[in-house]
């Protein structure tokens, strides 16, 4: 617990600057009505981050409620079956309560909401994992929860809709535009503009107006901190590559931040490179820090076909008895390609695959 408690300590070494800029990216492009609320949020976050009571409460919940630290598992059978030279480790965020890394962020943010005296929490969700994670913490803390979800996603992810409702949240289907995550986020912002004085907006991606990208990163970076410690324990050194999937980018920034903030050309050659791949989520944007990392060459970004992701999905299920989320299968696919040459590869298994079974069974036909 002492180690978890240390996650929010220390200075923020990497960007953003005071205006939330990562190089040319980031900032605030929202209506004026929200700017004072974002200023209030920045002040509240800065104070909470420095407050031992907040950090202890978060650390206790991360350990006793969410299940941190999550294990690091060596996928030995998988590597052997695929004839890989490298060693492949899985960071098991799929074992976190609610089945994905999302809870790291919502615990921190909803605790902050309560601290700010906001009794009403709103969120947007795509596949439903962030919505479920927000609804979960709102239930735990006794706050009202409203989740905006595109109508198409409501239909595609019916089990997660039911989960949110069972947790006491209201799910509002969004019928505008493409009826997916982008439109759910627009509608959540419209709600926030209207109810800004009483409402906390809990964003799930490392995106949105400042301070959300940096706040989400600080709450997710526990993943990378644990990876570094667990890799030291298991292998006596840091991995050669850390691989994660990117939608809006919260699990990737959480897994990678610990490593990209190191000098990328380390004299001791501890760290080769970081890899991220597209999860092909229904969101046309990416967090500003990823845009900046890509431009500055500190992380590399690649894409992965659905077919390759499905292949990795099946291989992991058969060889190791783990059913990953489709997003995580994309990262795994890229990691396996990397394990042909690099020695020590670490993949962030960001979530479990229960929510995707329908899609996967359909695709495997």
């Amino acid at each position: 617990m002492k180690e978890i408690g240390s996650i929010l300590s220390g200075e923020t070494l990497a960007p953003p600057d005071a205006r939330g800029r990562f190089g040319e990216y980031g900032g605030r492009f929202v209506p004026e009505t929200l700017i004072p609320a974002l200023d209030e949020l920045t002040r509240a976050w800065t104070a909470a981050r420095a407050d031992a009571a907040y950090k202890v409460e978060l650390a206790v919940l991360l350990e006793t409620y969410a299940g941190r630290p999550t294990p690091l598992f060596r996928a030995e059978r998988l590597a052997r079956e695929l004839g890989l030279k490298g060693r492949v480790y899985l960071k098991r965020e799929d074992l976190l309560h609610t089945g994905a890394h999302k809870l790291n962020n919502t615990l921190g943010q909803v605790l902050l909401a309560r601290r700010m005296g906001k009794r009403r929490v709103i969120a947007e969700t795509g596949a439903g994992q962030h919505g479920v994670a927000t609804a979960t913490v709102c239930a735990l803390l006794g706050l009202e929860c409203i989740v905006y979800m595109g109508e198409l996603d409501v239909a595609r992810q019916a089990p997660n809709v039911s989960r949110m409702q069972l947790l006491g949240a209201e799910v509002r289907p969004v019928t505008a535009g493409s009826r997916t995550l982008k439109d759910a986020m627009n509608e959540a912002i419209r709600d926030w503009v209207t109810n800004v004085r009483t409402t906390y907006y809990c964003i799930g991606s490392a995106a949105g107006p400042h301070p959300y990208p940096v706040m989400v990163r600080e709450l997710q970076k526990v993943i990378g901190e644990e990876i570094a410690r667990q890799a030291q324990d298991a292998e006596g050194r840091l991995p050669d590559a850390v691989v994660a999937c990117v939608g809006g980018g919260s699990n990737a920034i959480g897994a990678l931040h610990r490593f990209v903030r190191e000098p990328s050309q380390d004299d001791e050659g501890q760290l080769g490179e970081s890899h991220s791949i597209s999860a092909g989520l229904d969101y046309p944007g990416v967090g500003p820090e990823h845009a900046w990392l890509k431009e500055s060459g500190r992380a590399s970004y690649t894409t992965c076909t659905d077919a390759a992701a499905l292949e990795a999905f099946s291989a992991l299920a058969r060889a190791e008895g783990i059913i990953p989320a489709l997003e995580s299968a994309h990262a795994l696919s890229a990691a396996l390609a990397e394990a042909g040459r690099a020695r020590l590869i670490l993949v962030n298994l960001s979530g479990r695959g229960d929510k995707d079974l329908g899609t996967i069974l359909e695709a495997l036909k």
Binding site: G27, F29, P31, E32, T33, R190, V196
Partner: protein, 249 residues
């Protein structure tokens, strides 16, 4: 002073009318609104993700985009008209960013527009576009909200060119049954510190609401109600609506 500032008459509250570009016959509607007595016209540039807009303007933007409207096309339509009232573009930052601030400014000027209102461009991010517009002799009209603290409102007003847009309610565009109680007080405070006229908008849909604000602001903006009337009842009904608003100011 600019052409936009000058359009706010001394001793009378100006009427600012919003038209969604590309939703129906934009040329005919602009002409009719101009002839019916609008002092300033806001020309909406349709955008796929209008986070400051309520359902009516969202639907209007979707109709416009569906029928193939583009920023350049909408501006070109306005550029062909000879309107008495100055025209200011109202749109979101993403298409402007995509086009480039300088190219956007040039496009506005070539179409005879006087400036732009960008609801998702707060003070901290505004300078590059303000400079690009200024280089073409155009105004960037900033917005002040009910949640804006007094000190910040003063700072925003200091950057204003043309006029300041005061958002009457916390929320998105669209008709409201009533307006906030402290609206007159906030308007008076803003007018006291603003070097340019102050127009108030969001939620004003009926002549009696407009009449109640007569003299309390330098101008009132009517958008959603006008777009709805034009779409449902046509250009002539829209012109009649503008005349009914103008008559009470």
């Amino acid at each position: 002073m600019s052409r936009l500032s000058d359009a706010f008459p001394k001793g009378r509250t100006a009427l600012v009318c919003y038209v969604m570009g590309g939703d129906g016959d934009t040329a005919a509607l602009l002409q009719a609104v101009d002839e019916a007595g609008a002092d300033v016209i806001e020309l909406g540039l349709p955008f796929s993700d209008p986070i400051a807009d309520g359902p009516v303007l969202q639907a209007a933007a979707t109709r416009a985009l569906f029928s193939g409207a583009t920023v350049r096309g909408v501006l070109a339509t306005a550029g062909k008209l000879r309107l008495r009232a100055p025209v200011v573009a109202m749109g979101y930052m993403n298409p402007v960013e995509r086009m480039g601030a300088a190219a956007f400014a040039k496009c506005l000027r070539d179409s005879g527009l006087c400036g732009a209102i960008i609801p998702d461009l707060p003070m901290e991010e505004a300078q590059p576009l303000r400079d690009a517009l200024s280089a073409q002799g155009l105004d960037l009209v900033p917005l002040v909200a009910p949640t804006t603290p007094a000190e910040r409102a003063t700072a925003i007003a200091r950057t204003a060119r043309g006029f300041v847009y005061y958002v009457s309610v916390t929320g998105v565009t669209g008709a409201r049954a009533s307006l906030p109680e402290d609206l007159e007080k906030r308007l008076a405070e803003l007018r006291a510190v603003s070097p340019v006229p102050v127009a108030v908008g969001f939620g004003i849909s009926r002549p009696e609401q407009a009449a109640a604000l007569k003299g309390k602001a330098d101008g009132i903006v009517v958008g959603t109600a006008l777009v709805k009337t034009a779409h449902e009842s046509g250009v002539k009904a829209a012109a009649d609506f503008v005349r009914s608003l103008r008559a009470v100011l």
